[in-house]
Symmetry: C2
C-alpha cells in the first residue's frame, strides 16, 4: 500500500464528464489498496472569467478580494469531484484551504505555503476516505483566503505530498509527460521516462510549461517523487526524481525555448566602476527582472556596449527607467529588440561531458543563425537568437544531440 | 447616525454594471453618515447553474458537498462588491460565513442560523469600513460550509440586522415594495407603505414571493424593522413593522394566490375514531405536508368524504402513500385534482371587522366560482378554487375590498 497525491489540472476537470472520468481514475488507484488524496484546479476557463470580473469592477483590484473571488473556481471542482467519487462508492469529502488548513503568508495572489496541518487528512485517509483538496488556495493571517499564483495547484499538490510524506505525487495534465522538446515544433520528440529535479527546474524556468517552477523547487527541496502524466490516456508519464534513480542518463535531456524575452543594448556606455549598479539598480527598484547580461569588450578602454534581457512585458517600462537615468549611466544610444527567443539545451550530463556548448554553437552556425547573447549554468546553455529562427534552431539542435525518436 | 443592513438579491447584482450600481447605493447611505453592513446573493442564474452541476454529477447528491459548491456564488459577488466599493473610495472588505462566523446547525442545504459573532464586524464598522457579508451561507459543526435554503440571503440579512441591533434592514429586490396583489394579474395594485409582520408572514407563506417566509419570522421574533425596496428605482418601498407603528390600518392588506397546491379527496371514508391518524400519519412519515383539510358531513353517520391539499410536487407520492394504506384507512375511491389554486385574503383588520369572509364568499359566488375548501386564521381567509378562475377571482376580490389604486 502506498500513499499517493493525485493532482488534476483545469483541462482534466474541464466539464462534468471529465470530472466523472477523473473520479474513475482516482477510484482505480484507491481500489488498488492505496491511500489517495486529490488536489484539483478550477474547471478550465473559470479562473480567467473570475479574473476578468475583478478587472471589470476595479482595474487595480485589492488582491485580498481578488483571492476571495478567484479561489471559488477550485471550491466548485473540489465539491463536484467529491460528489463524483461518492457516486462511484468511494467515501470522499471536499477540503478548502482554510478547512485543512493550508496556512500561507499574506502575499495575496502569490502567497507562499507556510505549513499544512495534515492531522485531519491523515485521520480521514486512515478511515478509508479520499480527501479532495482545493488547489491554488490557502488561508493567510486573519483568516483571509489567499491564492498561490497561476499554476499554483501544482505547488499545492507537491506541498501536500511533502506534508503527508506521500510515496508519490501524480500531476495529471493535458500532455502525457515531459518531452525532449515542444511537440508542436519538433517532429519526433521523445517522451522522457525520468528527469532529474534540477533538469525539470531548468526546463520549467526556461519555457517548458508542463510544471510550475515553484512546484519543482518544492519537490526538489522535499525530495517528493513527482510523476507527470495525462488524464486522457493510460501511458506511464515522466518521473521527476533524484539523479541517483536514473540509470541510463542522457547527456542532454531537453531543448526549450522562450519567446517571453526582449533585448536591450546600450551603445557606448562609459566603462567605469559603478556603471552596472547605475543600470541594474533602478531596474531592480522598478521590480524588473534582468535575465541575461553581456558586456562587450571595450575598444579603447573607455566605452563599451552592454546588452541585457528582460521579460517582453517589462520592455516598455525598462526603456522608460533607463532613459530616465541616461545622465547617471552615460550612454549614447539605447537599442531595444523584442524579436528575440531564448533557446536552451538542458542536461545533467553536461557536468561530465565537455563539448555540449560547442555542439550548440556549431549547429547554429551551420544554419547561419547568429547568437546574440550566451548564458550558461552547470546543467544548461542558453542562447539568444532572432525569433524568426526559433523552429529552425530547435529542430537542428534536437537532431544534433541525437534526441529524435526512432 | 443609524446602523443599517442592506441586502441585495440576485437580479440586483446580476452583472458587473449592476454590482457597480449597488456600490453607488451603498456609498450614498454610507456617505450620509450611517454605519452600513451589506449582505449579497449570488449573481442571478449562478446558483441554478451550480445546482445543475451537482445534479449532473450525482442525482442524489450529498448536501454537504452541494453546500460547498453552491455557496461559491455568494462568495464571488461578495468579493466583487467589496472591490466596487473600494473603487468608489469606500473602505470595504468581504466576509464569508465562516469568517464572520455565521454559525449554523448541520442541516446542510437548509441550515438554520444559531448565532452570529458580530465583534469583528462591529469593530470594522466603527473603523469606517463597510463589511460585505455573503448571504445564504454559514458554517456548521466541524467547520463545514452550510447553506440556508433558497432565498436564504433574506434570512442572512435579517439575522445579521438582529445580531447587530441595526436600526433597519433594507431588502433590495427587483420589485419596489409589497403590493396588495400580484401586478401581473391585477391591473391597479397598490403599493403598501407599511405592513405588519403578521400580514407579511401570511403573504409570504401564501404565495407572495417578495420575502422568504423564514426571514419574516425572524424579523418578527427580533422586531427588526424591514424595508422592501427596489435597487433599480428610488421610490421608498414598503416597511414591515409592528402593528402599533401603522396609523391608518387597512382592513385587508393583500390578496395572494398559490398554484403550488393539489387536492386529494377520499370518497366514502369510514367515519370512525382514528381514521384521520390512519391517513395523515403515513403522509407525515413520508415528509409530506398537508395544508388544508375538510371533512364533509357524513349522511348516515358511517361514511364521509375527506378532502385535503398537499404541495403539487408531493401529489404523486401522496397518492402512492394513501393507496398503499387503503385497507387500513378504508375508503372507496381516491380523487386527485392538481388543477386548483389557493386564493387568500389577508389583513390584521379582520380581528376587529366582521364580514370579511362573507365579502369573499359573495364576491366569488357572483362570478359562479365554486369554493372547494376553506381555511381561516385570525388574519386571513383562504379558499381553494379551480385554477382557471385565478385571474377572475383575484381581480374581483381586489375591487370588492376597495384595494384598486386611484
Amino acid at each position: 500500500m502506498a500513499r499517493i497525491v493525485q493532482k488534476f489540472g483545469g483541462t482534466s476537470v474541464g466539464d462534468i464528464d471529465r470530472i466523472k472520468n477523473v473520479a474513475r481514475r482516482v477510484k482505480a488507484t484507491f481500489d488498488a489498496g492505496n491511500q489517495v488524496a486529490v488536489v484539483v484546479s478550477a474547471m478550465s476557463g473559470v479562473t480567467n472569467q473570475l479574473v476578468d470580473y475583478c478587472r471589470q469592477v476595479a482595474p487595480n483590484y485589492d488582491f485580498r478580494e481578488y483571492d476571495a473571488v478567484v479561489s471559488t473556481g477550485e471550491q466548485v471542482t473540489t465539491g463536484l469531484l467529491a460528489l463524483a467519487l461518492q457516486e462511484l462508492g468511494v467515501p470522499s469529502r471536499s477540503w478548502m484551504g482554510w478547512q485543512v488548513p493550508i496556512r500561507s503568508d499574506s502575499a495575496h495572489s502569490k502567497a507562499r505555503i507556510e505549513g499544512i496541518d495534515t492531522a485531519s487528512l491523515i485521520t480521514e485517509m486512515a478511515a478509508g476516505f479520499v480527501p479532495v483538496v482545493a488547489g491554488f488556495q490557502g488561508v493567510g493571517p486573519g483568516n483571509r483566503i489567499t491564492t498561490l499564483g497561476r499554476g499554483g495547484s501544482d505547488t499545492s499538490a507537491v506541498a501536500l505530498a511533502a506534508a503527508l510524506h506521500a510515496d508519490r505525487c501524480d500531476i495529471y495534465t493535458d500532455v502525457d509527460g515531459v518531452y525532449t522538446a515542444d511537440p508542436r515544433i519538433v517532429a519526433r520528440p521523445r517522451k522522457l521516462d525520468k528527469i532529474t529535479y534540477e533538469e525539470m527546474l531548468e526546463m520549467a524556468s526556461l519555457g517548458a510549461k508542463v510544471l510550475q517552477t515553484r512546484s519543482v523547487e518544492m519537490a526538489m527541496k522535499h525530495r517528493v517523487l513527482v510523476q507527470v502524466l495525462s488524464s486522457f490516456t493510460d501511458s506511464p508519464g515522466t518521473l521527476v526524481c533524484d539523479e541517483e534513480e536514473i540509470v541510463e542518463r542522457q547527456i542532454v535531456s531537453g531543448i526549450t525555448y522562450s519567446r517571453d524575452e526582449a533585448k536591450i543594448t546600450l551603445i557606448k556606455v562609459s566603462d567605469r566602476p559603478g556603471v552596472a549598479a547605475a543600470i541594474f539598480g533602478p531596474l531592480a527598484d522598478a521590480n524588473i527582472n534582468v535575465d541575461m547580461i553581456v558586456q562587450n569588450i571595450s575598444e579603447d578602454g573607455s566605452k563599451t556596449d552592454l546588452t541585457f534581457t528582460v521579460a517582453k512585458t517589462d520592455l516598455e517600462q525598462a526603456i522608460a527607467v533607463i532613459s530616465g537615468k541616461k545622465d547617471d549611466i552615460g550612454y549614447v544610444r539605447l537599442v531595444p529588440d523584442p524579436n528575440v527567443v531564448k533557446v536552451s539545451v538542458i542536461g545533467v550530463g553536461m557536468r561530465s561531458h565537455a563539448g555540449i556548448a560547442q555542439t550548440m554553437f556549431t549547429t547554429l552556425a551551420e544554419r547561419s543563425i547568429n547568437i546574440k547573447v550566451i548564458s550558461t549554468s552547470e546543467i544548461k546553455v542558453s542562447v539568444l537568437i532572432a525569433e524568426e529562427y526559433t523552429e529552425l534552431a530547435l529542430r537542428a539542435l534536437h537532431s544534433a544531440y541525437g534526441l529524435d525518436a526512432a
